[in-house]
Symmetry: C2
Subunit: 337 residues, 2 copies
């Protein structure tokens, strides 16, 4: 009941000139370099992931299983001159995976071509069918969820950083993806915000199933409990994840919900308290284990003051995952779990 993407990957970059519009490809190459066989670029491309350039046929010969759509076209559509490479990938025997707004199966002829060749089209925007209603039943293993004061504050990056730190220490840990880019990085997951609301917590339950007692699922958060548009997603994900631990993510200096100038963000202590009240529905032992600040807008000295003050306020490790790493949070987990 989860999306699964077969590795390794050929990353399609088209002729996209701007690295910012290739953030999916950039993210996969950064977090999963071992899974990337090569990149497929068209003449005019301005993006280089540092991977070998390959055609789909060359990538297939080198062992690739899936071509991943690593770029965002304008409006999420598929430009006309990027259609031929899709057929080329299918013809070479590669699955094709994308998160574009206009789905792959809407490309005339592509679905039937894929079917006759025996490859799969994987749309990471489409949740699996037959998701259950959440039950709240306790599962084995340990879970950490990243929660945000808002959208786009580093919940995915923080979860990936924490998973990487755990794995580097030899812990058993899996990153569990709930958004499109995360799913491509993880090779699977559920696009939780596309799930019908009755099944959101059930989908989160499916995403982090029973596991070994000393295994951590590190779950990518979505939205925010105080977000006027997306809080339903956030609460269902929190209930279904039944996390033992959560990490608050925030961008330094942000005071209002992005794009909602009338909507003040919660303070971090208030968000911690509220997350505990809400999360207690499915895990009475839920606790906050740290704060991740995106402090990219601050100077080094301001950043250190910000993290030190926040740590004094919360009594928890407060880090900037990019600048300081997340080791103090994993140390804290080591001590308390």
């Amino acid at each position: 009941m989860r999306i699964r993407i077969r590795a390794p990957y050929l990353i399609f970059l088209g002729d996209e000139p701007d690295r910012l519009h290739a953030k999916t490809g950039v993210g996969i190459a950064h977090w999963r370099p071992a899974l990337c066989t090569g990149q497929y670029r068209l003449p005019g491309s301005g993006v280089d992931l540092g991977l070998p350039d390959m055609t789909p046929a060359e990538a297939k010969a080198a062992g690739a299983a899936t071509m991943i759509w690593g770029v965002a076209g304008v409006g999420g559509t598929i430009p006309a001159h990027w259609v031929a490479p899709l057929f080329e990938a299918a013809a070479a025997g590669l699955d094709v995976c994308a998160g574009t707004h206009s789905s792959l199966s809407a490309v005339p002829g592509l679905a039937s071509a894929a079917k006759s060749i025996g490859v799969h089209l994987i749309d990471v925007r489409s949740p699996p069918a037959d998701l259950p209603v959440g039950t709240g039943a306790k599962r084995t293993g340990k879970r950490l969820l990243t929660v945000g004061t808002d959208c786009v504050v580093g919940k995915k990056f923080s979860a990936l950083s924490i998973t990487q730190e755990m794995t580097a220490r030899g812990w058993k840990a899996d990153f569990r993806a709930t958004g499109q880019t995360g799913i491509m990085i993880a090779g699977g997951g559920i696009p939780i915000d596309a799930v019908v609301s009755d099944f959101v917590s059930g989908a989160a339950e499916v995403l982090s199933p029973d596991n070994a007692a000393d295994h951590w699922d590190v779950i990518e958060g979505q939205g925010g409990l105080f977000h006027p548009g997306y809080a339903a997603v956030t609460l269902g994900l929190l209930h279904g994840s039944q996390p033992d631990a959560f990490v608050v993510c925030h961008e330094a200096g942000r005071e209002y919900v992005a794009a909602f100038p009338d909507c003040l963000l919660p303070s971090i202590p208030h968000l911690i308290e509220h997350t505990i009240v809400c999360g207690s529905v499915t895990n009475a032992g839920i606790r906050c284990v740290g704060v991740c600040i995106n402090a990219s807008a601050l100077q080094a000295e301001e950043r250190e003051t910000c993290l030190r003050d926040l740590s004094a306020l919360t009594g928890l490790p407060c880090v900037d995952p990019v600048a300081t790493g997340v080791a103090p949070i994993v140390d804290y987990l080591d001590e308390h779990f």
Copy 2:
């Protein structure tokens, strides 16, 4: 962007022997008798709504616009011998409206028949397309939402009772339906639990648009903020409804979430407090204005004690909508808004 059902109605009851399985038809006949032209029963029916028996053609001649599916087949499916009446209704020029699990358009030939005749098939389980993301922007008019300690505690009945009491006093008020039966009673609405989670609060915003300053939208609640399966629906509905007032609904004697024996219900004061914290995201002035208890399991004396104690605890009017009516809650609104 809301479902709309054209009145008046012919209520289809099939040959259903059991009134309990005809609760949709029973509800419409109870709450909207003026909209019911007649009932259509097959030989063997054990249900009588007290309406004139009519065929679709007779109902059309009497002015009916829509045949409403008033019964729940086993598993929500459409029994084979109930299919012919669907074609009969379409042939007579009636729209057909149902909330069955297997949708009307899945009945072979029905959609094309309806199209050629020029009538509509209305599936109250399918939310409208193109719902927006919620913005939290303040709308004009006043709103009351029923919230529950659990599912099936009387949220729809309470909202309908309050709307009826307001209307009887000459207030401007509309019942806003969020579930299948409610939508059929109201003649429109949005099945909020079938909406993709990203759009739940946006759907609730569409459901209760700007209105006159002295107009009340009385919104049917769904699920419960402490329900392990459905809280996402509840929170999105709360945020999008931006209620000025809410009424807590509870069934006397229920201690655990129905079908979830490990999940203790919140106390009513705790639910009030938590609803205010959550609802403040889109309406800082949100307040509780009363409690509706389904006390059908209690003797009259026990019921009176229960309501009196609860009123002392909360400082609010506490009623049983069936046994005592909801006038004290509307009195309270009259005094405080």
